[in-house]
């Protein structure tokens, strides 16, 4: 078909109407914004390509072109999902895109030509229906955006030193400042960013909360764990934890049914254990863990997860520990100057090892009841 620019835009909006409506319902049912954010992103990427490229480059678009163009849009959408940190799970996001794309094909090749005699010869334009359709789609997006804006968690900015413990018992974003005596998070949808926390049993403590994000926090002076989460879904990024002897740096535990938690890009120094997860599904990636007395990184008690691209230095008993019925994918890590084995699988644990570099550290080892699977 040879689309006019208006035809491309109106056809795009017509195809987006149903996925958008589905996304509104999905967001309401799941009490999450990502379906709507994803639908809006798919539409925005499509319109951007229509305006910026397709109209100028494709005077005529054969049927087969829908496949490569759809693939191109999918790649861009998924990159933007990642860049914009839209919390869309991969498989549902792919399924949503695929179904929306299929619907667009059915609509463009069959339904619209059946409904409107002149559809093809008018280059995809919808006649008098075009403007109301555009207004309707815009209204849905503006309304949803307004609701999202009005219901987004408030941002609290701290200045200077604040005495804790602070209890965060409703959704919010806490930014900046220094907190003495710790932060306790008990609500969902809490973000703590650029905050330094000093002292307390657990300087940052998370309890039965979801969608918790700890971003660029600095933690020191803990009496037990630097960051301690229980039955919670937490994402820790770019943190710095200074763990005194006898404590643990980061301990996220007992939330195997709460989805994935992760520790990414952190620097943890000292403590008995650097980063540990008990009974969790998690990812520990791109961290630097230095001088842990026992274990640098630990996945244990039936945990499942990835330990990737970390650097573990001068750990004591084991640099990376996979224990107690856990299943661990240990890949592309660098282990330096550890006293115990670089990787230890212990007590019915299974570890998959691939691409790890071991320097001045005893070789990986497993107990007789545990297994290594090496690529």
């Amino acid at each position: 078909m040879s689309y006019t620019l208006r035809g491309r835009i109106e056809s795009r909006l017509a195809a987006a109407a149903l996925p958008l409506a589905a996304a509104v319902g999905w967001s309401a049912a799941a009490r999450a914004w990502w379906p709507l954010e994803l639908a809006a992103l798919v539409l925005a990427v499509g319109l951007a390509f229509d305006l910026g490229a397709y109209h100028r480059l494709l005077a005529y678009q054969p049927g087969w072109a829908a496949l490569p163009l759809g693939a191109l849009e999918l790649v861009v959408v998924m990159l933007l999902v990642r860049a914009l940190e839209i919390q869309a799970p991969l498989q549902p996001a792919l399924a949503f895109f695929l179904l929306a794309w299929l619907w667009a094909q059915v609509l463009g090749h069959a339904a619209l030509p059946l409904a409107r005699l002149e559809y093809a010869e008018d280059g995809g334009e919808l006649g008098r229906a075009g403007v109301p359709l555009g207004v309707a789609v815009a209204l849905v997006l503006v309304t949803a955006g307004g609701v999202a804006w009005l219901t987004q968690p408030p941002t609290v900015r701290l200045h200077g030193v604040v005495d804790g413990p602070l209890v965060l018992d409703h959704a919010q974003t806490l930014v900046g400042g220094i907190v003495r005596g710790g932060i306790v998070i008990t609500a969902d949808d809490v973000t703590v960013r650029d905050v330094t926390v000093v002292g307390g049993d657990n300087p940052i403590e998370v309890r039965e909360a979801h969608d918790v994000r700890l971003d660029r926090v600095h933690v020191s002076g803990a009496r037990e764990d630097g960051i301690n989460a229980r039955q919670s879904e937490v994402r820790v990024t770019d943190c710095v934890v200074d763990a005194p002897p006898g404590t643990q740096g980061i301990d996220l535990s007992f939330a195997i049914d709460a989805g994935m938690s992760s520790v990414e890009g952190c620097v943890v120094h000292g403590g008995d254990v650097g980063i540990t997860m008990h009974a969790m599904m998690g990812e520990i990636e791109d961290n630097v863990v230095v001088s842990a007395a026992w274990h640098g990184i630990e996945l244990t008690e039936m945990s499942m997860g990835h330990v990737r691209r970390n650097e573990v230095m001068r750990a004591g008993d084991a640099s990376i520990y996979c224990g107690d019925h856990s299943v661990c994918h240990v890949e592309d890590n660098r282990v330096v100057a550890g006293r115990g084995p670089a990787v230890l699988a212990f007590y019915h644990a299974g570890a998959h090892l691939d691409g790890n570099t071991v320097v001045r550290t005893p070789r990986p080892r497993h107990s007789s009841d545990s297994t290594f699977d090496v690529d």
Binding site: M1, S2, Y3, T4, G7, A59, Y60, P62, G63, W64, H109, A110, P113, L114, L117, E118, Y119, A120, E121, D122, G123, E125
Partner: protein, 348 residues
């Protein structure tokens, strides 16, 4: 009351009739005037004459009022073979002539064509109070002139050896084929297959392209460009004979008909221009209608603006509508005109 007349009972007339019916116009509101009840009669005779087996047009080249489902979808559904669909996605599907003629027959049956047909040739369309008189058959608010090609084009000097490609003929032993279009390419093959020695008589190299026009000119996008430019020059440029690459065959070429040719097949197409059609020629003369390069200057919806207003419509379909839609002589073009004609019939 019969308020709509379609003058011409060929393919353009059928497409217009089916479109009006699909648009909710009752059969008893429409009268179709023409020589024959079979809308494909003239086309079939020409296709048989050149032994055409496949259409040049693609899936959209059908007489149904809507583009979907096209012939590829219908054939795939009928044969449970996805190949037509796959070929269509890549613009490689060419329906067979029999598939096309079946579609014509189906439209004829389902639309009620025969119930509206008046088997009479029309020679005069004149203006009257609130409409047009069509010969002495009555007056109509809306009239579509779907008159078809005005006749076969022949070379100036011809003798007894000359036959036209679009008329039934057998081949002699030494055959000269005049022309470089779709019919000529087909006749090169036909004559060779019959064991004849073939020579192509042409003055320019053939233009190889899949359709009559580049695809954007079948939609509003290309039309906007066409309307902004010099229409007469455009139509002249694209009136050059052409055919799809897959039909090309290397044959000896001459600029003049050889004296020793036993038969000369004229693949020279049709007469061009309104002047060759008595109904159109009379309308132009009586109403002093503007013309350009042998064509009536039409409005963008294929109506004759001087004879069309809020109460009446005189529109043109088929090859004579190329001023409004350059591919008007194709099935897609006939449908395009029919859609615009329906719009006027619905709202008046």
């Amino acid at each position: 009351m019969t308020r709509i007349a379609i003058v011409g009972s060929g393919l353009a007339g059928l497409v217009a009739y089916a479109t009006l019916r699909a648009g909710g116009v009752a059969a008893d509101e429409i009268s179709v005037y023409g020589d024959t009840a079979d809308p494909a009669a003239a086309w079939r005779m020409r296709a048989e004459a050149i032994r055409q087996r496949q259409m040049r047009s693609e899936s959209d080249g059908h007489p149904f009022p809507r583009t979907f489902p096209g012939l590829a979808v219908r054939e795939a559904a009928r044969t449970l073979d996805p190949a037509p669909l796959v070929l269509s996605l890549a613009d490689r599907y060419r329906p067979s002539v029999s598939t096309f003629l079946d579609a014509v027959e189906r439209v004829r049956e389902r639309s009620g064509w025969d119930s509206s047909l008046e088997p009479r040739r029309v020679s005069l369309v004149t203006l009257c109070h609130k409409g047009f008189r069509v010969d002495d058959h009555g007056s109509f608010e809306h009239v579509l002139l779907a008159l078809g090609h005005p006749g076969l084009a022949w070379p100036d000097d011809r003798d007894a050896r000359y036959v036209h490609a679009y008329e039934p003929h057998a081949f002699a032993r030494r055959v000269a084929v005049v022309g470089a279009g779709m019919a000529a390419a087909t006749e090169w093959r036909n004559a060779s297959a019959d064991g004849a020695e073939v020579i192509s008589v042409r003055r320019r190299e053939p233009v190889l392209r899949p359709l009559n026009l580049p695809r954007p000119f079948f939609t509003k996008r290309g039309l906007d460009e066409y309307r902004r430019g010099d229409r007469a020059a455009f139509l002249e440029a694209f009136s050059t004979p052409s055919y799809p690459r897959e039909l090309h065959r290397d044959v000896p070429v001459a600029r003049e008909v050889p004296d020793d040719a036993e038969q000369v097949v004229c693949a020279t197409g049709f007469l061009r221009g309104y002047a060759h059609d008595p109904v159109l020629a009379r309308l132009v003369a009586e109403h002093d209608l503007p013309t350009a390069a042998g064509r009536i200057v039409l409005d963008d919806d294929s109506t004759i603006p001087e004879l069309t207003d809020g109460t009446r419509t005189l529109a043109v379909a088929g090859v004579h509508a190329q001023w409004a839609f350059p591919a008007a002589d194709t099935l897609a073009g006939m449908r395009w005109v029919a859609h615009r004609f329906l719009r006027r019939c619905r709202t008046r």
